[in-house]
Amino acid sequence: MKTLSHVNDLAEHYDLVVIGAGPAGMAAATLAADKGAQVLLVDENPTFGGQIYRAVSSTPLKDRALLGADYWKGEAIGAAFSQSQADYFPGATVWQLSPELELGISSGGRTAVLHARRVIMATGALERPMPIKGWTLPGVMTAGAAQILLKTSGVAVSGKVVLAGCGPLLWLIAAQYLAAGKRFDAILDTTPRGNWRTAMKDLPGFLTSPYLAKGLKLMAKVRRQAKIISGVTALAAEGEGHLARVRYTAGGREVVIEADHLLLHQGVTPNINMASASNCELEWDDAQLAWKPKLDDWGNTTVPGIAISGDGAGIAGAEAAAERGRITALDALAGLGIISIAQRDEQAKPIRSELNRYDRGRVFLDRLYQPAQQFRVAGEDTIACRCEEVTGGQIRKAVTTLNIAGPNQLKSFLRCGMGPCQGRLCGLTVSETIAEARGSTPEAVGYYRLRAPVKPVTLAELASLKQSETEIRTVARG
């Protein structure tokens, strides 16, 4: 790969631009570049790996056992990408992708616009928001953030630490922290007890899943070493200026414990902001309780030329992500005329059978770890939109008194979703809170309609765009 450090290093045209350097993005870029396409991979982070393989080539952790064998699978994907002919632009932000496949890319305060013949978005997943009272207090962060600290910097959250929520990743992070010699004062498991009943019918599929043995081992390990409180039905962070206490209810009993840190996690959901801003149609996934893009078998969105792979296309995990990246790359190569349709289909076959293996039992996990309603909608005094500091109560009141139909209308009254994060964090909470208040579904209520720039961009950055003579003459006087 050729690492770019300045927007001036970018070509004006690429056959394929891949957005996001996680497993899907790296695998897609590598395959396409190896077949001779001119490829650019743009990524926001300083190093490749995405979140799952974050800092896989640069982590300061010397003890490989600490992060577990699955993490190191990223090394091979990263090495293959490093050896490819693709251009790689780290620390760069895509603030626009138009349906005409024009991309606006910023880095170091400069920006450039370029054209792609095909685009693959591999923007991965976000942690599902977990709006509880007091979650904006310093001392509260996502469990994913705690894991990122460990991977990139070898830094661990210490002192009195409480981990709360549900989902497979929660157990992985717990195991990694325990392996690093850290401890938890409590692990508060919010998995609703009733989930076991609904998930049971999908258990046979899960019994053949490659994740089963791994998952059970992980949970047993954590259970041996940490105090786990299950059936937690309410949770709040308290303190003045910093977290001091965690208040929770389990089995109908309210308990308060002292805490320096509260790590929250309740699963991951596709990061669909850029897809939405590029006009790709979305659909509601009732098992994963999240929006995902409408895609065909090759990951193509409803906008011609734009495909999505990896967890951004629907949560399926890191190993599936790399395979899905390859599927979208094959179709891009066929679209570019570099391989034939017959070659595409042939080369996709073994990849698809791998994908089927990872798919087994996914539904079981989705159903088992569906977070409870009370942790998905914002309570009366709980902040839903952290940027604009809008509470669940304010949303419900606006919805019922002003008969607001959905998140876009709500923006004009409460500004929620209009802060710097542009609804990335609160989008799901707001859709679900409105749906609850209206006695409707998120599907009917809809999602924020997003607009470019999808990330804040300064006027100075826009002013750094190259202008043609004609463009200058159209606006300049004299």
Binding site: M141, S158, C387
Partner: protein
């Protein structure tokens, strides 16, 4: 509290926070260096002026905003720490002061 695990690889990186000298390590982002140095609150919220600290460390929440080398509202969790960086917190900067 945040603790570096013993025996990390990567060399020390010196930078300043609000003029005060601090040390991070190679591989740190601005936010991870601040957290490791014990600095959690990096800004005040735009509406009520409440203290805020990095929340997601993956570019989503914008809670980690700081001023870096004179440029305001940078996502500290996405910027690699470099020697000599001048980082400033955005605490008590007044409501809705977006950039400077």
């Amino acid at each position: 509290m945040f603790q570096r695990l013993p025996d990390p690889s990567g060399s020390p990186v010196s930078f300043t926070l609000d003029g005060r000298p601090l040390e991070g390590r190679q591989g740190d982002t601005v936010s991870s260096a601040l957290l490791a140095a014990g600095v959690e609150t990096c800004r005040s919220s735009a509406v009520s002026g409440e203290p805020r600290a990095p929340y997601c460390l993956m570019g989503v929440c914008f809670e980690c905003l700081v001023t870096i080398d004179g440029v305001g509202n940078q996502q500290g969790c996405l910027v690699a720490l470099r020697p000599g960086m001048q980082v400033e917190t955005q605490i008590g900067r007044g409501k809705r002061e977006l950039a400077r």
